[in-house]
Symmetry: D2
Subunit: 350 residues, 4 copies
């Protein structure tokens, strides 16, 4: 039996997971990334920028689509040409955008302008009065969430009202209807009014989530509540509590440490020459969810995620650089591994 | 065995409830009430006002003190003469005010100015940038909450940041340390940014509370989430869920409807000539908690609450008009009842 | 000829001043004063409060009405019982309240709660989201201002938007229609976003005003602009510039120093036993304007103002303690002076 | 004698204009323009953007520098790579940036992302919490303004605090020191809290300005004050008042209508094939100021402005497309005109 035992899961309300039309709804920001045209050049030096869709949950949706996973999106963009671009792009790659609102009250679609280099390029982020944070609880449809197997939450969606309340409401609807919740911590301190407020909402959110993914710096958000997060075991002690059944601690070059109710394991990364430092986490999350949805073992799901991360950072773009299944197969072959197959029975955690 | 089985309750962290030094910590606003000197006169007509301490959780703390219950307070007042008055008053009646913050950044202590009449006197409330809503998660001490048997939350404390986060944090600490949470809905729509936001936080709060008290209008706050609250049974279906073990629907002149895991019962009121429409709910809550703390049966606890409510509204003031045990005894005797005694064994629910 | 030569003044637009139906329109806050019932008692000790209408320009309007001056008001109160009280009171004493708006978006009528003692009683002021600061430029009628001889501005009305813009617009309309502008500095640093912003608007406002009244601390508001206000002469050098033709520096127990284009003079006070420290300035301004309107000499106008100030502070209330003409006559007689008579010809300045 | 008679102007404070080291200080926003790489393509279609410095007063500073005018700048950019780019660029073209502040409290440098086409390309503007609007009165140096002959104000700098107060203060310093003020209306309704507030500040600003430049839509901002702006003569009746001595009504394809105290004249445009609709006004203002500074006649100054506007819109960029003197000469020759020479004596207005 697989970790989440999709076919057998009987939800409180709504139809069984296996019969739901959407695999994953990603909730949070979708914005525009502008990548410097020239490498290793400062903002003063570059001549211009390439244009892509970005934002962690949008990147994950793109990663899922490349793997033919049925993905939906809940978020908000501005009522202007850049908002339309984001919406057009998501539609063009087959993301269901019925949950993507357009807001016309002065908000602006999130914009990240970045230099290009492998280590610490400067990124200037335009998120003052960001459209995605204007997502309102009124915009959240219980029926839409009930149509999905998984709800992927970007923690940044909790950083300000009314997106905060919209996100909490979506999570409540998910719990009511048996939709699994995967929380990508995505903690950016500058977005929050205080570290203490961040701790309160991350604590609430992790207690509503089935899967929690983050890195050590992100998990430390709870320290203001007196929770020790100084090592993996301490993190797991707090974060792997009901209803959370899967905790993934991302450790950069060291790979990841995975905890589940019955045990834990560590996995390394596939070393590649990176073109940029972003994209790895979103690629990882997309392939991990693919693995979970396809009854791959946890170990195999994590390997797939690591391969996707490696492929993404070795390319110059982000949402557009998510690998297809064929590319993953090819990559794994070149590393003397093969694309994993579904497990059967109780062999999951290992 | 009594409802909450104090002596036997084994908490996750901290000492057993029976050994805790504080019985009830009330969390929320404490402010100033100004009552018109003359009855049945408009604001234009009255010559002046009498001064009292008010605010629902402060009134409940006052009610508890009259019954010799060890009460503490978590809240905030302004750094001025009216803030000091509130703090001085709570100290003078024996409330532990270690959790009462003083804020000096332009906030003002909540102020309610009211006409005097039994039915619908106008009340003008000054709560723009109210001190109590400035309570910050940094002000919340896990140790202090661990020292109390019960944490009484006024729902209004959830209406705005940072009080919202401070309140959620206090509730999380209470759950972590086995402190019982009693939530008085105290829903005032005008305090909230939207009905949907109110629904989100009330839903979260009721899912963290052991006891929930409110009236039908207040429980209807969840209707924007598609939850039916059209009658008592519907309300109970949603609100009496883990961990909530006691739900009290206050019904004005019709008394109250009480739900607990094993059943439900209704109780009428003691009819009196009212001097004013406020104070009844806070007097009720205070005596109810007294009953719970003293192993009275649920039925007896509710009767005691109703008697206290009747006494309070028949007087001209509010916090200062909370009855003593002797006054409750005398009132019950005059209604051919006697002051209830603790139950033993399993006879609680009835 | 008198200082402002009313009958002869030919305005750019509108009718001659002498034919205008309103003598003075006061612009700014009108609120509620709550005076402690007991003297020399702290807020913790007092039992309650007496209720009055207050706010500097409302007090000046009350002072003018006691002297039978035709007074109007431009301002805003909240849509509640306290707002109605303020409006009812102003109407009851004959103030024209066509320019008094009622606002219902959560603002509150300004409220000052005060201890009672002659020296430095504590005053707690409720002005968060104050109704008067919600006055909007849309509320300002050029026709109404054109119907008045004088527009009295309380400088505090400039402290925040949209009252700031409404006030500047009223001043522009006044200049366009030949309505004389009297500016009472009324500078309260805590109301302003920064001292520099205060300096900018006070500088603009004084350059639009015919008469400027303030004390040395208030005039120092311009120091952040590099303007020296260390002594009366320095103050006059800056503040007595076109179109300002009358500058009154109030100096507390030392009386006042008066500057006009042709010279200056000082006047002492009438010593009395004060009941409270407020009200003197507003009583002074009211009688001064009475003098100007009635062709009294500047010296006599200032004497009248000083007498009114002395009478007011010797009483327990403020707006209701403004003296009538008969009371001023009686007071002056008891000080071996008589009520001044209009001047004729060019004898004004001295 | 020329219009402003620089050499003879005797200022109240500071040195004569002719001896001042700076010709023009431009005050207001300097930001980043991102121009679509492909023409006639929507935001969805374009592949990326070219990067330039933009913002009306920054463009005017660039125009002035191309003509070897000594230009300074007062404004603010964000403390990040895009802010540094703007600052670096202005320095690189020789603009004195001592008055350019860097702000690090979450503001962002103004960003305009635009499609490319001659008629109505969509422009998405990121100005939520814009750095330039964070310019504070504390940042304004009286000495710096006293060192310049002209202060060029972009009206948008008045749209929000604290930039509004900083701008008013700069204008007050300019008047105090005899620095001529040129106001480019630059009215963008969406930046303002209300049309009435815009009217109040534009009215104040025009009454402090020597030169006022705008188009008919911009001048209509005063209509909420009851001022008729339905035709050029009505506009002139209001806007050409002391101390304004030059009013230029820009009329798009119809050219411009110029009013000065002694008369008025109209001038047409140089028809060219436009690449984009922006830049013309800023190019015009730059050359006009060059003309004024160099004793050209008003007619010649306007012709120079029109030529610069024509050259700018025929190019693909904006700040970088401002013409040099040589380019203006060449352009005028190709239109059978020659570069104007200074006038002598009283022949200015015509």
């Amino acid at each position: 039996m697989t970790l989440f035992a999709w076919p057998d899961t009987q939800t409180v309300k709504g139809q069984p997971l296996a019969q739901r039309p959407i695999d994953v709804i990603c909730l949070g920001r979708a914005g525009v990334d502008l990548y410097a045209r020239e490498d290793h050049a400062s903002f003063t030096e570059v001549s211009g920028f390439e244009k892509f869709v970005g934002g962690s949950p949008a990147n994950i949706a793109a990663a899922l689509r490349k793997l033919d996973v049925a993905a939906g999106f809940i978020g908000a963009v501005s009522d202007d040409g850049l908002g339309r671009y984001v919406s057009d792009y998501l539609n063009s790659i087959g993301v269901d955008t019925r949950g993507l609102e357009t807001i016309d009250n002065g908000v602006r679609t999130s914009l990240a302008v970045t230099e290009m280099s492998a280590d610490s390029p400067e990124v200037v982020i335009y998120r003052n009065n960001a459209a995605d944070l204007g997502l309102h609880p009124r915009d959240i449809s219980a029926e839409y969430i009930a149509d999905s197997k998984i709800l992927l939450i970007s923690g940044t969606a909790l950083c300000a009202s009314p997106s905060r309340e919209a996100t909490l409401l979506a999570m409540q609807y998910a719990r009511d209807h048996g939709t699994l919740i995967a929380l990508d911590m995505d903690y950016r301190a500058y977005s929050w009014e205080s570290p203490e407020a961040a701790a309160v909402y991350y604590h609430l959110a992790t207690r509503l989530s089935d899967v929690v993914i983050g890195n050590q710096e992100e998990f430390a958000v709870l320290e203001s509540m007196g929770i020790n997060t100084s090592d993996d075991a301490s993190i797991a002690e707090h974060y792997l509590q009901e209803p959370t059944r899967l905790l993934i601690i991302k450790k950069g070059h060291e790979g990841s440490h995975v905890y589940y109710p019955g045990g834990d394991f560590e996995k390394g990364i596939f070393p590649v020459i990176a073109q940029k430092p972003f994209g790895a986490g979103d690629a990882f999350a997309g392939s991990l969810l693919y693995g979970i949805l396809n009854d791959l073992s946890l170990q195999d799901s994590v390997i797939l995620g690591s391969a996707a991360a490696a492929i993404n950072v070795s390319r110059r773009t982000c949402s557009e650089a998510m690998p297809t299944k064929a590319e993953l197969e090819s990559f794994l072959q070149s590393h003397n591994q093969h694309f994993p197959t579904p497990i059967s029975g109780d062999e999951n955690a290992g």
